[in-house]
């Protein structure tokens, strides 16, 4: 083969060369100046406006949460038979959003996808925040939240143990493990950057904080050696979790007897959906960050293009899953399952079914076009559609399946209340408040990792700068 020969001779054709991952002239020094300077700068006006909006949403949401805890789940629209509604929809939605970060930072790290380095930090932070948002819902959705700690298996004088057969308990383990591993992974990556910031900052307070957080990092070769090893190990650990968390969340549904929930396709289908939703959210936030923080040279259009390709791939997987749901309903000859599937495409909530299918399957097909993958308008349009669509997908799974199950006598329509919407708003408020705060106090780009992919950072016999 000519290309093999070309490699042997060292003359790699242009089309096989990986294009540079940054634009313009980026040196390690300029990178530090560009990224690590943010915390020392006074935030722009837009940042304050944004924070005001997200904090308002947060306060509204948490007042509604307080009202719920004081009064009872009855202030929501949940009823019999729709015992779960916005609470679990929001939970699954946020856990799903929280999938992109770890996937980008861990799985793509293991696959040596070097383009991930510029966006990994941000995506990971979003994971942590999304899982925090998700974590609120199991806690507040129980009838007696002050007893929610009973879900943890701890030795107690009552001699009552938790029920290990319950998927809800698996959830507790899956989500808390995922959260702690993601947090560790994220923090580990932050340590060298924080050390750089410690060395740069002039503010005494910041210096103290960064000193504590950098854990005595001096950049010694032994530090780097341990760091790389730990990072690799955690990446390996997190990789399994990316697949397991949403699989376990899907068991909440898949192991039940509710028609529309009881399906073997759920674990892979949920994982694909989670990556789908997570990547969309990352795209939305990335575009904003890239523009407002002048990071165009580090987060390039190529990053967004690759992200959009992943979204497109996941959209196709979702389409397959939806078709399989229909096929199972038909092929199983199970009248209950059939009825539930028909409810998705017709029935009272048929609009929600079609909204889901349109947003998740039809609209992302735009990303087949390079023009759409590299246009802010189109990618934001698709990402927003996917976010809405994925929220409604959980609505479809939970509410449509529950509202008409086995006995027609128990069927009922579900209507959310103001409080339901308020709590949903609050979760968005919390998420974006945390994103905004993160963008100001910590490096949004892993400078140490980006330095490793700067042109010339990886000496090779074929690189230009070897000459």
């Amino acid at each position: 083969m000519s290309s093999d020969a070309a490699i042997r001779t060292g003359a790699i054709p242009e089309r096989l060369l990986e294009p540079p991952l940054t634009e313009g002239v980026v040196t390690p020094g300029s990178l530090d100046d560009q990224v690590l300077a943010f915390p020392d700068l006074r935030p722009p006006k837009q940042w304050y406006i944004g924070l005001a909006i997200t904090l308002t949403a947060l306060v509204i949401g948490f007042s509604f949460i307080g009202y719920t805890i004081a009064t009872g789940i009855g202030v929501w629209g949940n009823n019999s038979p729709v015992f779960w509604a916005f609470d679990i929809i929001n939970f699954v939605f946020w856990v799903g959003i929280g999938h992109a970060g770890t996937l980008i930072s861990a799985i793509l790290f293991l696959f040596r996808k070097r383009w991930r380095n510029a966006i990994a930090r941000f995506a990971e932070a979003m994971t942590i925040f999304a899982v925090m948002c998700a974590g609120i819902f199991p806690l507040i959705h129980v009838g007696r939240p002050w007893l929610a700690f009973w879900l943890f298996p701890y030795p107690n004088q009552r001699g009552v143990w938790t029920n290990f057969r319950s998927p809800l308990l698996w959830d507790v383990f899956a989500v808390s493990t995922y959260f702690s591993v993601s947090l560790m992974f994220w923090f580990l990556g932050l340590v060298p950057d924080i050390a750089s910031m410690r060395d740069r900052t002039t503010s005494k307070v910041r210096k103290t904080i960064y000193t504590v957080l950098s854990l005595g990092w001096r950049g010694a070769a032994s530090h780097w050696q341990h760091y790389e090893k730990a990072y690799l190990l955690l990446a390996g650990l997190a990789t399994g979790l990316v697949l397991s968390v949403h699989s376990v969340v899907s068991f909440d549904f898949a192991t039940s007897v509710v028609p529309g929930w009881h399906m073997t396709i759920f674990p892979p289908y949920f994982v694909a959906g989670a990556i789908f939703a997570g990547f969309s959210m990352v795209v939305i936030v990335l575009v904003v960050v890239r523009e407002t923080m002048q990071l165009k040279n580090l987060i390039t259009m190529r990053h967004l293009d690759v992200m959009n390709k992943v979204i497109l791939g996941m959209s196709c997987l979702m389409g397959y899953s939806y078709m399989m749901e229909g096929f199972t309903a038909w092929y199983s000859m199970n009248e209950y399952l059939h009825h539930t599937f028909m409810n998705i495409i017709s029935g009272t909530y048929g609009w929600a079914g079609w909204l889901t299918i349109s947003c998740n399957i039809f609209i992302p097909q735009l990303l087949w076009f390079k023009k759409c993958r590299t246009s802010y308008f189109w990618m934001i349009f698709v990402a927003l559609a996917v976010t809405v669509g994925m929220w409604f997908e959980r609505f479809v799974i939970i509410v449509i399946s529950l509202h008409q199950d086995y006995l027609p006598s128990a069927w009922r329509i579900y209507k959310p209340t103001m409080v339901d919407f308020g709590v949903l708003l609050g979760s968005f408020g919390l998420f974006f408040t945390l994103v905004l705060l993160f963008a100001r106090v910590l490096p949004v780009i892993a400078t140490t990792e980006v330095k490793a992919i700067l042109p010339g950072a990886q000496p090779s016999h074929h690189g230009d700068d070897h000459e």
Partner: protein, 1003 residues
């Protein structure tokens, strides 16, 4: 420190042993004693010392310990903890923890129910039928079970009141006496309006009052008892009659709009259930024909039902009489049907084939056929029904002459008398004409013209607002009385002393009698006893009267054996009635006003249990929508929940609409008893339909020429079931007799269901239940019984609308076939106590689990409320406390709670327990008596409250138990068996015995 050892002298060296004092060395007795004592003389306990000027270590530690203990105790205090108040002097009757039972009785209209009242710590908490009663056999009506709530109604008037101020009884008595004596002296009439008089002693008291006060005019008024029935009976018998069906003797029953299976008559339900509970195809059963306008519970259980407009019912009945005449059944003397044309009357949609079958059935069953006519039907229809029974010579009914009831016409006359200033005084006792009289405003205006107006009742109502003197009376659970029903006297005795400063109504009258100078016993109890000694106590009985009366009270009844002669049928008025019946037309739309299932005539509108029990047909709670046939609704472009205006004779109401399959075209139905303006629970629930009633006593409940129009807007319906179609799901089985024969012969067995898990082990008992859908008529008695036994919360209409009712057992009804006349099946649905319960393995905290006796148990204390179990329950029988429904309950409402069942707080899941408290009670009882449990000894509340004995409970481990036998029956099936959850409840298929196809031809 204060403790000091007294100084001792120098020890002498030559003494080898140790000693402490000189006395000890010399071994004086004092010293020996001192040596034995722990402390030396002079040693003082610190605690006995006067307060130390400085803190001692001991004192400090003591106080610290105390403070720590106190802090720990205070910290352990739980919110909502009540105070336990022990009896300082325990009443002789009351043993804490042990239930007392009293046989008593209760009246509703003319009907008297013999009941057994369960009391705990002096509080009546549960009512069942009296098991000693030969007819009721331990069964009673849903409203009777629920009426315990009336005792604890927070709205009850607690002391006499006049002009808005509380008053002592002595003063109330003197005011009453003064008014009555004044009227007597002036010779002006005094009007007394009461409910139906079913008590011989009360009747005697009225007679005494009449003797002492000759100007007394008494009206016994029951607003929803059907004046048409009274008018019809008076026309053909010359007297009011009470019709008691004897269904055990009937092969063919024809209901002309009669809802005799509504649950009001437990004897009818028991007899009906017994006839339908077949164990083999081919066994004798009955056939129920129903011709009615609205779909009633009876209609939903019919073998053949035809929607017929109520205005045409009389014509149908006369046509049937004509047909029977042509089949050779003789007409009674004086009857003339020559004007009646043969065949199905015009405007009635009954196929000729069915008509022929109906006539055939009646003509061949003859004495074993029975025709019942609905109370709302016209007087002509009642005359025709009496004629039919007379022609058939029916044995299956008992006719008894009854005390006359006042009709709307009588009330109207009284009102005109009041307006004209005829009456000096009016006494209103347990009646509410200001609400239930059709012309309420005119009534109020007229009443205001009476100088003295006294009201006697439980809770202030619309009528009380018009009266000067308000006299609170005892609830029946606090009262004495007797009721006579033919050969049987039943006794009412108090199960609790009066809760408030109230008196029994009869005692108020006795006080008035005393004031008028009559010699009467001290109280009604004495009056009743005296009358019994004189009238009921058999002369020459070997038992002393006191003992006789005690035994009667213990049993709750006495068999008298004196049957009243049946009234004689006279046919003279029939020709005129037939002519009128043939001419009767309902116009475009006609309205039927029916008593509310929960409210009756409005008297139970403040009863939360009843208001929240769904109407067995419409499944509506707390409201009375206008029921339209589906065809009419389509024509008027109305849908479920749409608001409509209903106009009758210039009176317009705005009501939500419900489409009722099976309702006759051109008929709209509205329930009475709603739209009260007083009472915390009652006020503002639904609309008052009494203003739509006619003042014509022949058929006040039927109105023709009614207009219905869309009013725009809609109202969310507080309805517990909105989907009645099965869509081919095999959830409930309903077979014709032919299908039964086929199923019994070659029933397909489903595939063996396999499981990966080991089977549950049940070492001792395995509780199970069988529900016979053929016997179940859907009366909802089980729901009320369960609510009472298990402290099931009442959540209110708003929460029901949101789908959060708490009933542990519900009645599902499914329609099949033609929307204009569907087949209906009722199915009680409760926790199935599955062996492989899907709810159990999903609970993360093990709050629901399986007992070794096969119960799916719910541990409220452990429940955190994830609601996963409810999602995973295929039967959706789990109930969640979405809000705090119980904590705000204070006395008197909280007194109704059964102490053996936990009251559930918010955030907790709950569901049917198979009445585990009764199971345990039975087991403990058996163990205490050192004997094995007997079959049928343990009965959950639903089974006890089921008048037709459709629910059987027992031990499936015992192969001889009734439930084990029934599980093997050829009608048995399990709901959603294919899910492999192994429910512990087996249903027996519903049976229909249609005349045309699939039924028994030879009855």
């Amino acid at each position: 420190m204060k403790t000091q050892i007294p100084p001792s002298p120098e020890p002498p060296v030559e003494i080898p042993r140790y000693w402490r004092t000189l006395g000890e060395r010399e071994e004086t007795p004092e010293a020996r004693k001192a040596a034995h004592d722990e402390f030396l003389p002079g040693a003082v306990d610190v605690a006995d010392l006067p307060a130390p000027s400085e803190f001692s270590r001991r004192g400090f530690l003591g106080l610290m310990g105390g403070a720590a203990a106190l802090a720990a105790t205070v910290a352990c205090d739980r919110k909502g903890q009540g105070t336990i108040v022990p009896y300082t002097r325990r009443p002789v009757e009351v043993i804490p923890g042990v239930a007392n039972y009293y046989a008593s009785a209760r009246q509703e209209g003319r009907r008297a129910y013999s009941v057994l009242v369960k009391t705990r710590e002096g509080r009546p908490i549960h009512i069942t039928g009296n098991d000693e009663h030969p007819g009721f056999k331990g069964k009673t009506s849903p409203r009777t079970i629920a009426d315990i709530m009336g005792l604890y109604d927070a709205d009850r008037l607690r002391a006499p009141k006049a002009e808005g101020r509380p008053l002592a009884w002595a003063e109330a008595d003197s005011r009453m006496t003064a008014a009555l004596a004044g009227a007597k002296a002036a010779g002006k009439p005094v009007l007394l309006i009461t409910g139906a008089v079913a008590s011989p002693s009360r009747k005697a008291l009225f007679a005494d009052l009449k003797a002492a006060l000759p100007t007394l005019e008494h009206l016994a008024w029951e607003p929803v008892r059907g004046d048409g029935a009274a008018e019809g009976a008076r026309a053909v018998f010359g007297t009011d009659v009470e019709v008691a069906p004897r269904l055990e003797k009937a092969k063919v029953v024809l209901s002309l709009g009669a809802d005799f299976l509504s649950g009001e008559d437990p004897e009818a339900l028991a007899a009906f259930g017994a006839k339908r509970r077949l164990s083999e195809p081919g066994q004798a059963t009955n056939r129920l024909w129903v011709l009615e306008g609205p779909l009633s519970i009876t209609g939903s259980n019919a073998d053949q039902r035809f929607p017929v407009r109520p205005s045409r019912i009389a014509a149908v009945a006369f046509a049937l009489a004509k047909a029977l005449q042509s089949r050779g059944l003789g007409l009674p003397a004086g009857a003339d049907l020559s004007a009646v044309p043969a065949g199905v009357p015009q405007g009635v949609d009954i196929p000729a084939e069915a008509w022929k079958n109906l006539v055939n059935d009646l003509a061949s069953a003859r004495r074993e056929a029975l025709v019942l006519c609905g109370a709302e039907m016209s007087a002509e229809a009642h005359q025709a029904a009496h004629l039919l029974n007379a022609m058939l010579g029916s044995q299956a009914l008992e006719l008894r002459a009854a005390e006359p009831l006042a009709t709307v016409k009588d009330l109207d006359a009284a009102m005109q008398g009041m307006a004209a200033g005829r009456y000096a005084a009016v006494l209103l006792w347990d009646v509410n004409p200001a609400y239930a009289f059709p012309r309420a405003q005119a009534w109020k205006d007229a009443l205001a013209k009476v100088p003295f107006r006294a009201w006697m009742g439980l809770a202030e109502d619309e009528t009380a607002a018009q009266c000067q003197l308000l006299l609170p009376v005892n609830h029946w659970l606090e009262s004495w009385n007797d009721f006579g029903s033919g050969e049987l006297f039943i006794l009412q005795q108090p199960a609790i002393g009066a809760l408030y400063d109230t008196r029994q109504g009869e005692d108020v009258l006795l006080a008035a009698l005393k004031g008028l100078g009559a010699a009467v016993p001290a109280d009604y109890h004495a009056y009743l006893k005296a009358r019994w000694q004189k009238e009921v106590y058999p002369a020459g009985s070997p038992v002393a009267f006191e003992r006789y009366f005690e035994v009667a009270l213990h049993d709750g009844l006495v068999k008298d054996g004196k049957a009243a002669p049946a009234p004689v049928f006279k046919g003279a008025t029939l020709a005129a009635a037939a002519k009128q019946a043939l001419a009767a037309q309902g116009g475009d739309l006609e309205l039927v006003l029916v008593p509310g299932f929960a409210t009756h005539d409005g008297r139970y509108a403040n009863n939360g249990w009843l208001m929240e029990t769904p109407d067995p047909v419409t499944k509506m709670t707390w409201d009375n929508p206008l029921l339209l046939s589906v065809a009419d609704a389509r024509r008027l472009k109305l849908n479920d929940g749409d608001l409509a205006t209903l106009t009758v004779d210039g009176t317009t109401l705005r009501v939500p609409v419900v489409l009722q399959p099976g309702q006759a075209k051109g008929v709209v139905t509205l329930a009475l008893g709603y739209g009260r303006t007083t009472g915390e629970m009652a006020a503002g629930k639904g609309v008052n339909a009494f203003p739509l009633m006619a003042l014509d006593p022949a058929a006040p409940n039927l109105r023709s020429g009614v207009q219905v129009a869309a009013a725009g807007g809609s109202k969310p319906l507080s309805r517990t079931q909105a989907h009645h179609r099965l869509d081919g799901r095999e959830i409930v089985q309903s077979w014709s007799l032919a299908e039964y024969a086929q199923e019994a012969r070659d029933r397909k067995k489903g595939p063996e269901l396999v499981t990966l898990y080991p089977d549950q082990e049940f070492p001792q008992h395995k509780w199970g239940m069988v529900i016979d859908l053929a016997a179940c008529v859907g009366c909802s008695g089980c729901m009320v019984g369960c609510q009472s036994e298990n402290n099931v919360a009442v959540v209110g209409p708003e929460q029901v609308t949101r789908g959060r009712e708490m009933h542990w057992i519900r009645l599902d009804s499914y329609y099949e076939g033609d929307v204009d006349n569907p087949k209906v099946v009722h199915q009680p649905m409760l926790c199935q106590h599955c062996d492989d319960a899907p709810c159990e393995n999903v609970c993360p905290v093990n709050a629901t689990n399986h007992s070794p006796e096969g119960l799916n148990q719910m541990v409220y204390n452990r429940c955190v409320g994830t609601r996963y179990c409810a999602n995973n329950c295929p039967y959706k029988v789990r109930r969640f406390n979405f809000l705090e429904y119980t904590a705000d309950k204070v006395e008197p409402e909280s007194l109704i709670y059964n102490p053996e069942v936990t009251v559930r707080p918010r955030g907790v899941m709950e569901k049917c327990t198979f009445c585990v408290q009764r199971i345990e009670d039975g087991k403990i009882r058996a163990k205490g008596e050192d004997r094995p449990l007997q079959d049928g000894e343990i009965t959950p509340a639903c089974a006890v409250s089921c008048p037709s004995d459709a629910i059987v409970f027992g031990d499936l481990k015992d192969p001889n138990s009734k439930v084990s036998q029934l599980v093997k029956a050829n009608r048995s099936f399990k709901v959603l068996e294919e899910l492999g959850v192994k429910p512990a409840i087996t249903y027996l298929a519903d049976l229909k015995n249609p005349a045309i196809e699939g039924g028994q031809h030879e009855l």
